[in-house]
């Protein structure tokens, strides 16, 4: 039975996340935007709190509990609202507070999500409870993750990793880095595997931290891997190069995390809209839902247009998560959500800055910060263009060699 409202059972979670965003994130938002590279120590207490929540209930934090398909909630007549949906709802609220701080949450990294999603029981036991970042991108391989040059060679009971990794979110702060590397560069994407590397591994050298346009609370690290030795057991998933599912498995992490990034974009979008609406109201512009947009002021009409894009982005995101909860293949919908939410977030945040004039542009308010933060959401975890490619291939029934 069609119902696109937030399920009642997740209302407490949403309220809780909203309070964290309001009481913890927003007050320190500007501080860590300015103090780039300094660790937001306020998050430690919060992280412990969220660890407790993860164990006690299906209430997820930033999605690091992973997106195992079996972890679904109970349903009515086959319909399930489970951890995918609850995680997305939590992230929306937290990113309404501050997306940079969410990305800095200890033990909530993308690496955690990968580990939680594909690790064996032994690996879970060994690496559980630690903060894991994810290292995929290289100077010469961004969206084209199949062409990564970092290599992994088996030497006795150890793999030896060599290469260069950039744009590693929380790379400096995390305990573990999930590194993507190729077992055999001539074997193409099937040979690409992910390896768990301890942050204090002597073969893992931090080159520098990036200075960025936005999400400055989150550290972004560049590494060199030089004869970096990890135990055989550090390989995530199957080690078989013939196993075509290998790369698919790695990429599958993205199918599962795309809705999460879409959710981040939805949260930032809503923050910008709410702020702009309040400012417009102070200026005497009220948004009326019954009067046609074009019969209202230009500002109100613009606002309605932006809010309608937000509505679509929001619902596409919930749809992708709901499909995952219900074991429906959602690769298409996940990319649709990411594409729509990513571009909407940028357009709306920048649009709200314009609507609010110097109030929006100045640093007294957070609108300008959200507009800077927004841009990364249309880039990482697959750029707008990559999402459009995935959507197009699915709709047109094309392979990646036909539609490149």
């Amino acid at each position: 039975m069609i119902n696109l409202e937030i399920p009642k059972k997740f209302k407490p979670l949403v309220n809780q996340a909203n309070q964290v965003a309001q009481e913890v994130f927003r007050p320190i938002s500007r501080k860590y935007d300015e103090a780039e590279h300094s660790y937001p120590k306020e998050l430690d207490m919060l992280a412990s709190l969220i660890d407790g929540m993860n164990e006690g209930s299906e209430i997820g934090g930033a999605g690091a509990t992973g997106v195992r398909r079996e972890s679904n909630g109970e349903g009515d007549g086959g319909n399930r609202n489970g951890s995918n949906l609850s995680t997305v709802l939590g992230i929306i609220e937290l990113c309404w507070g501050d997306v940079g701080l969410l990305l800095s949450m200890p033990r909530q990294g993308l690496g955690n999500s990968a580990i939680a999603s594909v690790a064996t029981e032994e690996q879970l036991e060994h690496y559980g409870g630690k903060w894991a970042a994810m290292a995929i991108t290289e100077p010469e391989a961004g969206s084209d993750s199949a062409s990564i040059r970092t290599t992994a060679e088996l030497d006795g009971d150890e793999y030896v990793l060599n290469g260069e990794k950039i744009f590693v979110t929380s790379g400096d702060r995390a305990d573990l880095i999930v590194v993507w590397a190729s077992l055999d560069r001539s074997a193409g994407r099937a040979a690409i595997k992910s390896f768990i590397v301890e942050r204090d591994n002597p073969g893992l050298k931090l080159d520098r931290l990036e200075h960025k346009l936005g999400i400055r609370a989150s550290d972004t690290a560049n590494f060199t891997l030089q004869d970096c030795r990890v135990p055989k057991e550090a390989l995530l998933g199957s080690s078989d190069v013939e196993d075509k599912k290998g790369f698919g498995g790695a990429m599958q992490t993205f199918d599962n995390t795309r809705p999460l990034v879409a959710a981040m974009a939805v949260g930032v979008t809503r923050a910008a809209l709410e702020e702009a609406r309040a400012r417009l109201a102070e200026a005497g512009v009220e948004i009326d839902y019954d009067t046609p947009a074009l019969s209202q002021s230009a500002a109100a009409a613009r606002f309605l247009e932006m809010e309608s894009d937000y509505e679509a982005a929001h619902l596409l995101t919930l749809q992708a998560a709901w499909m995952a909860d219900n074991d429906k293949p959602n690769s298409l919908q996940a990319s649709m959500a990411k594409a729509k939410a990513g571009r909407t977030c940028v357009e709306v945040a920048l649009g709200c800055v314009e609507l609010c004039g110097s109030l929006g542009y100045g640093e007294n308010d957070l609108l300008e910060k959200w507009a800077r933060d927004a841009k990364i959401l249309d880039i990482f975890e697959g750029t707008q263009q990559i999402q459009l490619l995935i959507v197009a291939r699915q709709l047109l029934g094309k392979s990646s060699s036909e539609l490149r």
Binding site: M1, N3, N79, Y289, T291, L304, E307, E311, K340, E402
Partner: protein
């Protein structure tokens, strides 16, 4: 005066006018005195008025039973869980209508567009599917115990996948039944609703839109003034589906002392006339104007005691209905361009191998899915008795904007072939622009 007599007169006067017109046009007098434009404009208006005709004589509506109070469909129970799947019944209805749209509607869409009329048998068959009685309460012979906005949306979407203009023509009578089922008095329900559940259901139209720029349904030009116990209505309504065939109208007018309100008007009322108003799209609905000149109505013609909330809800429900048609037509564009761009080759390979083309398809897919979800959300809130002004408004904005873009992209992807009538995309381009224009006329 009967319709045939009126048409005969109109035709005769047109014949005289045309002879006069060609004589005048051939003379260079107009150019010499620089009034050609004005005269042509006057002639155009005159010609249109030449086609003006009385509304259909219509049947006699009589209350079949006495109700103690108005019967209403109950709101559905609030849903606890998020869900995008229709229930089994809805799924069945949706598939049935979709099949019908594919087998019966799409094949006649091109000709109906050309004819400015949908085949009567297709409209009759659509009606047999029960699509026009979804808003009729069970007590009055309806089939739906609970409110059926979501079901209506699914049906509108499925039907418009066949053709948006035929969907408009087919669903327009249902809007009147739904309006009376929602906001009619007990007497209005007993008088008019049984006709919508029988074999020969009447053509009918919910007329809100008026011909002026920046039309706002909350600020109507049409006026209803009090005269003793009666109401007297004056005004012009625009893009009404098949107004000449309608036996019953629900018309919006600014009611003296009350604000915008709905009135039930039988087609035989004196002072009521129609004239053709063909538009760029929705042509199978034979759109026309409904003219009200001193139309005198009894006090009992007023709906919902003129309550503003009822009228506003009607406007909102109409917007959701138009969204559903837009979603269906947008999906039709997507389903059509996919095989086309895969089969069409240029520079030695399918044009869909190019990102510039493929991304156009992606955007149609993404935006139409967003439109669909926003529309479903608004309808589902309506069924559950929740506020849905925001959701209806946002769905409309989305459908108006993206629907138009999708129509345009559909033609673009076919290039010159999209511009000619060999392919349906040019028709969808015209139809999809309606999403931002139409008010009233359909209901969920």
């Amino acid at each position: 005066m009967t319709v045939t007599e009126e048409k005969g007169m109109a035709e005769r006067s047109m014949g005289l006018g045309l002879r006069w017109l060609s004589k005048l046009a051939g003379s260079d007098l107009l150019d010499r005195i620089r009034i050609r434009k004005q005269v042509e404009r006057a002639l155009f208006t005159g010609t249109k008025n030449g086609f003006r005709s009385a509304t259909a004589a219509g049947r006699t509506f009589k209350a079949a039973q006495r109700l103690t109070g108005p019967a209403r469909q109950a709101p559905s129970k609030p849903r606890a869980l998020f869900d995008i799947s229709p229930d089994d019944e809805q799924q069945m209805l949706k598939e049935g209508v979709r099949d019908f749209a594919e087998a019966k509607v799409r094949p006649v869409a091109k000709q109906s567009d050309f004819d400015k009329a949908a085949p009567a048998e297709v409209l009759a068959q659509a009606n047999e599917l029960g699509i026009n009685m979804l808003g009729v309460p069970e007590e009055l012979g309806g089939v739906m115990h609970e409110q059926a906005a979501v079901t209506s949306v699914l049906i509108g979407e499925a039907l418009a996948h066949g053709d948006m203009g035929i969907a408009y023509a087919a669903l327009a009578p249902g809007a009147v039944a739904t309006a009376i089922g929602h906001w009619g008095t007990a007497e209005q329900e007993a008088t008019y609703l049984p006709a919508f559940t029988g074999e020969e259901t009447p053509a009918a139209a919910l007329a809100i839109l008026e011909p002026r720029p920046l039309f706002d349904p909350l600020a109507l030009d049409a006026k209803a003034r009090r005269d003793g116990e009666d109401w007297v209505l004056d005004g012009v309504k625009s893009l009404v589906a098949r107004p000449g065939d309608c036996e019953l109208f629900v018309v919006a007018a600014e009611a003296e002392g009350l604000g915008p309100a709905l009135f039930v008007i039988e087609s035989g009322a004196s002072g009521l006339s129609t004239e053709p108003e063909p538009a760029m799209g929705l042509r199978p609905a034979a759109t026309g104007r409904l003219l009200l000149e001193g139309v005198r109505l009894p006090a009992a013609a007023l709906m919902a005691e003129g309550k503003r909330e009822a009228y506003v809800e009607c406007v909102q429900r109409a917007r959701v209905a138009w969204c559903s048609l837009t979603v269906g037509a947008a999906q039709a564009v997507l389903d059509y361009v996919i095989p086309y761009v895969n089969e069409r080759t240029a520079f030695g390979e399918p044009i869909s191998n190019r990102q510039a083309v493929a991304f156009g398809v992606s955007d149609i897919g993404i935006e139409s899915d967003g439109m669909r979800l926003a529309t479903y959300r608004a309808a589902s809130r309506a069924d559950q008795g929740r506020e849905f002004a925001r959701e209806a408004s946002l769905a409309r904005r989305l459908c108006a904007q993206k629907g138009m873009q999708i129509g345009s992209e559909g033609v673009q992807l076919l290039g010159g072939h999209g511009f000619v009538k060999e392919h349906p995309v040019e028709r969808w381009y015209r139809d999809l622009r309606a999403a931002g224009v139409m008010e009233g006329a359909l209901l969920v």
